[in-house]
C-alpha cells in the first residue's frame, strides 16, 4: 500500500462523499482525487524524475491535500512547509531538501520570491499572483499558475514510467533539531501506512467519522490526522486557525464532528478561554491529545466538559511517523500522567546509555522499533546513525515504566522547547539574539505557561558598556524569526550560571512565570 493510494481508494469507495469542509466550502473525495490527478499529470508532463522534492506552502486545505497526494502520485517526495516561517528558515529548508518545485498560495508568493534566486535546484514556482516581476528578475525558475495546475481538465490517473514502492520516500517533515538547524525526517510510504493503520485501529476510525482538524498538516500530528481520515474514508472539517476557539466550537457543533485532535495548549484554550461549557456535542465520540502527558487536573476538567467522550492521550515523534504509544480512555484516570503503552505494531523499550534494559520504575531512554520508524534524516547520515541504532530509534525521551507496562515521561534529553503545537530548538533563537550587537551571551529556556505549555524566555547578558532594552531584543527577533519563535520574556543578567567546563546551566535559569493572566483573573459574569 502507498500513501497516495488512500485517496484513490476513498474516491472509488465514496465518490460523492464530503471529504473536506473548509468554511462554507465542501469538497467530495472525487474532487480531491481529480485535483490530485491534475497536479500529478502536470508534474509528469514537466518530466520531474522519481524522488523529486515538491514543497507546499499554503494554508488552504484543499490546495494542501490535492498537492500532497498529487506530488506523491507523480513519484515525488512531499515537503510541507511551515506557513509561519521567516525567510531565513524558508531558504534553509528549501535549500536543504533541494526542492525542484514549490507550490505557494498567493499569500506566500512574496516570501518564496525573495529566496528563489538562491535555490539553484528550483525548476518551477507554481503560484497564482504576487511577485511575478520579482521572480522573473531574480530567478531562472519557470512560473506556472497554481489554479491551472490544480484544476485542469486532465484528471485521469497519471501513468508513471516506473511503479512506486512502499520503500520509496513519500514525505520529508522538517523538525527542530538540538543543533538549531531543522532536520528533514524522511518517511517512507510504508512507514506512514503502518502508523496510519495502527492509529485507525485503536481510534476505531470509520467512514462514518468526521474529524475537526485544527492542527497544521505540515507538522507530523496534523499529517497523521489527515492521513488517518482519508485512509478511513472519513470526513475532515478544517480550520487551522485557533485564534478564536469559539469559532471552532461553532463549527464542531454545526458540522457534527465526531473527533477532535489537539495539543495541551489547544485544550487549555478551550477550557479557560472559550465558551465551551455553553455548547453540547452529541456527535463527538473522542478527543486525542499528543505532545505531552495529560495533567490529571486537565483530564478531570475535560471529562466534565465532554461527558461520555473518549479521551486518548498519545505520544510519539516525527521520526516515528509519528505515533508510538497511547493511553486507552479507560485508563486515563487510573493511570494519571501516563503516555500509555506501545501502539499496535510498535515495540518500546527503556534502555540505559549502554543499551541495557532498565528495571521497573527506573528511568531509561525510550527506544522504539516498528515499521513506522523513519528512513533517516535527509542528507545527514551521521545524525541518522546516531538515533537509528541496532536497538531501534533512540527517541531522546527519558521515561519509566510501572508494573503493568504503562510508560511515564520523565524528561527530555534534548532541550527542545514545546510551545503550543511547536517544537522549538533554543539554539536557533540564541544564535539570532547573539547577532544583536549589544549581546554578549544568551540562553533561551522554556518556562511553564498556563496556555502554551512552555513559553520562551531569553536570558541575556549584555556586553560591557552597552545598553539594550527588552523591546529591542524582541524587535530584533521579530525581524529574523517567525512569530512563534520570538521570546515571550526577556531577562537581563550580569552573568549566566555555568558548569566547571563553562557550559551554561540552563536548569538554574528556570522558574515558573506566565505572561498571560491565569484563568479566573479575567472577567466572569
Amino acid at each position: 500500500m502507498l500513501v497516495c493510494e488512500y485517496l484513490i481508494r476513498a474516491a472509488h469507495q465514496f465518490p460523492a462523499k464530503i471529504a473536506l469542509v473548509r468554511g462554507e466550502d465542501r469538497y467530495t473525495y472525487t474532487q480531491l482525487w481529480h485535483a490530485a490527478n491534475s497536479v500529478a499529470n502536470w508534474l509528469t508532463a514537466s518530466h520531474y524524475p522519481p524522488g523529486f522534492r515538491g514543497a507546499i506552502l499554503t494554508d488552504d486545505p484543499f490546495e494542501y491535500i490535492s498537492l500532497y497526494f498529487g506530488i506523491q502520485q507523480a513519484g515525488g517526495i512531499v515537503v510541507g512547509l511551515n506557513t509561519q516561517t521567516a525567510e531565513r528558515s524558508l531558504l534553509a529548508t528549501l535549500g536543504d531538501c533541494g526542492a525542484a518545485v514549490v507550490f505557494a498560495n498567493s499569500k506566500f508568493v512574496r516570501q518564496v520570491d525573495k529566496v528563489a534566486a538562491c535555490l539553484p535546484f528550483l525548476k518551477h514556482m507554481v503560484c497564482d499572483s504576487g511577485g511575478e516581476a520579482g521572480l522573473a528578475a531574480s530567478s531562472s525558475s519557470e512560473r506556472a499558475s497554481l489554479t491551472d495546475v490544480l484544476l485542469s481538465d486532465n484528471v485521469q490517473p497519471p501513468s508513471l514510467p516506473q511503479p512506486l514502492r512502499g520503500s520509496d520516500i513519500a514525505q520529508i517533515i522538517y523538525t527542530s533539531g538540538t543543533t538549531g538547524t531543522p532536520k528533514g525526517v524522511m518517511l517512507r510510504h510504508e512507514n506512514l501506512v503502518a502508523n496510519t493503520e495502527s492509529i485507525i485501529n485503536y481510534l476505531h476510525l470509520t467512514a462514518e467519522d468526521r474529524g475537526m482538524a485544527v492542527l497544521p498538516f505540515f507538522y507530523s500530528y496534523g499529517n497523521s490526522v489527515l492521513l488517518t481520515h482519508v485512509a478511513a474514508g472519513a470526513g475532515l472539517v478544517v480550520n487551522q486557525n485557533f485564534v478564536y476557539p469559539n469559532v471552532i466550537l461553532d463549527e464542531m457543533q454545526r458540522e457534527q464532528v465526531t473527533g477532535f485532535a489537539g495539543v495541551p495548549s489547544t485544550f487549555a484554550l478551550l477550557l479557560h478561554r472559550s465558551a465551551v461549557r455553553n455548547y453540547s456535542f452529541p456527535s463527538l465520540r473522542y478527543l486525542t491529545q499528543a505532545g505531552a502527558a495529560m495533567a490529571p487536573k486537565l483530564a478531570r476538567a475535560l471529562k466534565e466538559v465532554f461527558p461520555g467522550v473518549d479521551i486518548f492521550v498519545m505520544y510519539g515523534q516525527t521520526e516515528a511517523s509519528p505515533r508510538l504509544s497511547y493511553l486507552p480512555p479507560g485508563d486515563l484516570q487510573r493511570k494519571p500522567g501516563s503516555i500509555g503503552k506501545a501502539i499496535p505494531g510498535v515495540k518500546l523499550q527503556l534502555l540505559d546509555p549502554a543499551g541495557r534494559s532498565v528495571g521497573l520504575r527506573e528511568v531509561g531512554e525510550i527506544v522504539a522499533q516498528g515499521k513506522n520508524i523513519m528512513a533517516g534524516y535527509w542528507g545527514r547520515p551521521e545524525e541518522s546513525a546516531t538515533v537509528l541504532t541496532r536497538d531501534g530509534l533512540r527517541t531522546g525521551d527519558l521515561a519509566w515504566m510501572d508494573e503493568e507496562g504503562f510508560f511515564y515521561i520523565f524528561s527530555r534529553k534534548s532541550d527542545v522547547i514545546k510551545s503550543g503545537s511547536h517544537r522549538i530548538a533554543p539554539k536557533e533563537i540564541e544564535e539570532i539574539i547573539h547577532e544583536h550587537e549589544a549581546v554578549h551571551e544568551v540562553a533561551v529556556i522554556g518556562v511553564e505557561d498556563e496556555i502554551l505549555g512552555e513559553a520562551l524566555k531569553a536570558c541575556v547578558v549584555l556586553k560591557a558598556g552597552r545598553g539594550c532594552t527588552e523591546r529591542e531584543i524582541v524587535i530584533h527577533c521579530r525581524k529574523n524569526l517567525p512569530a512563534f519563535k520570538v521570546p515571550h520574556l526577556v531577562d537581563f543578567h550580569s552573568e549566566l550560571p555555568k558548569t566547571a567546563t563553562g557550559k551554561i546551566c540552563k536548569g538554574k535559569l528556570g522558574g515558573r512565570t506566565s505572561r498571560i493572566p491565569p484563568p479566573g483573573e479575567r472577567g466572569k459574569p
Binding site: Q84, N241, F242, V243, Y244, P245, N246, V247, S265, L269, R273, S274, A275, N278, G420, I451, L452, R471, V474, I475, R478, A483, F484, H488, R515, I516, P517, R522, G523, K524, P525
Partner: protein, 93 residues
C-alpha cells in the same frame, strides 16, 4: 469620559507597539483584520483582551471572544462602546 478618538489612538498605539513592534502608523489600517494580516495569534488575543479590560475597565465574557468583536481596530472600538453602553455611531470617530 474619554473621547472615542482617544480610544482609537490608544488601541492603535498598543497594537503597533506590541504586535507590529513600532512599525509605521500606515502599517495598520483601522479596518484590517488582525487575523488575515497575521498580526495576532491565539495568545496575542489573550494579551489584547487583558489590556482592554485593564485600560477600559470592561470585562470580557468567554462568549464574547469572537472575531466580530476583536478582529480590527474599528471592531474593537464598536465593542468597547457597546460595553460602555454608548451609541455605536460615535464609535469609529
Amino acid at each position: 469620559m474619554q473621547d472615542m478618538s482617544d480610544d482609537k489612538k490608544l488601541i492603535r498605539e498598543f497594537m503597533l507597539e506590541n504586535f507590529l513592534f513600532g512599525s509605521e502608523e500606515s502599517a495598520l489600517a483601522d479596518d484590517a483584520s488582525f487575523l488575515d494580516q497575521g498580526i495576532i495569534d491565539s495568545t496575542g488575543v489573550l494579551e489584547l483582551t487583558s489590556w482592554l479590560e485593564e485600560t477600559f475597565s470592561i470585562q470580557f465574557f468567554d462568549e464574547e471572544m469572537l472575531p466580530e468583536n476583536l478582529d480590527s481596530v474599528n471592531k474593537l472600538l464598536v465593542f468597547i462602546k457597546k460595553k460602555k453602553g454608548l451609541g455605536v455611531a460615535d464609535a469609529c470617530l
